[in-house]
Amino acid sequence: TVGAVALDSDGNLAAATSTGGISLKLPGRVGDTPLPGAGVYAENGVVAISATGVGELIARYLAAFRVAELMRRGTPLAEALGQVVSNMTNFFGRRNTVGLIAVDATGAYGEATNCEVFLRGFAKPGEPVKVGVLAEE
């Protein structure tokens, strides 16, 4: 799975996610990626989010929507992402299942994962591009 989130100079937030799905999936299987509020979500004034991981769990948990809901009620970006990933990990009792990237209405970047590997990066005008492969980078 791949994805992107962005904030433009008009203050519009957007998110996009795309995937081949999980290897050996049954034909016709659909995960979280094309479902609004599951693997992809964007709402001006709140947050843009894109998810990767085990689509069945992300979709059942509605991970993107939960982050947006926490932020709508005033929880800051980093805390909202951390809470949703940790609660989802506890609920399903499984690690290596989700990675989230997000930007909020102020242009702050946030990420959270329960995986060993999480390919991601971000760029701001006038700043060097940052990328990471291992989750702890």
Binding site: V2, L7, S9, A15, A16, S23, E43, R120, G121
Partner: protein, 174 residues
């Protein structure tokens, strides 16, 4: 200019093969960020996320677009979704097999149809009518991973799909 773009590839357990392709993956992420930043300079955040994801789909090294993982029958089936926060507009495709550029097709669903999601043959039909580029077929890397995982399922070593196992081991037809 205010603005920011972030991208991601996959997330999961650390595999040796991933460290071997680390440089290639980092390069792919950087290319996507540069494409997104260029789009952000002249267009909207929606243009930026589509441009960035299109680069990742086109690279062939991520599990999307040309580099997609294969389903139980060794086929490519792509899902993609885009959302614009200004008016909560949304477009998506699922189980789409015609074009490698699923994210741009998802945006076409948002902009050209009254729907939010087209699946399977309907999504393929729209891609075909729009003259979108055909998917070139599975990469060598995807095919190799598919063979390895199918072998692992037969030996009972692949733990992801427990319920599907019996279905996987008895594909349809003769």
């Amino acid at each position: 200019m205010r603005g920011i773009i972030a991208v991601h590839g996959g997330a999961g357990r650390l595999r040796k093969s991933l460290l071997e392709s680390r440089r290639e993956l980092e390069e792919g992420l950087r290319d996507a960020l540069h494409a997104g930043m260029s789009a952000l300079a002249t267009g909207s955040s929606l243009d930026a996320v589509e441009a960035a994801v299109r680069v990742l789909e086109s690279s062939g090294i991520f599990n999307a677009g040309k580099g997609a993982a294969l389903n139980a029958y060794g086929q490519v089936e792509l899902d993609a979704g885009v959302m614009f926060g200004r008016d909560l507009s949304f477009g998506a495709v699922a189980a789409q097999r015609y074009t490698w550029n699923a994210v741009s097709l998802a945006r076409k669903v948002m902009e050209l149809t009254d729907h939010i999601l087209l699946v399977g043959p309907g999504a393929d039909e729209l891609a075909k009518r729009l003259g979108m580029e055909l998917h070139p077929g599975p990469t060598e890397r995807a095919r190799k991973l598919y063979e390895e995982l199918l072998e692992a399922v037969k030996k009972g070593e692949h733990d992801l799909w427990r319920k599907n196992r019996s279905l996987l081991l008895s594909p349809p037809g003769d």
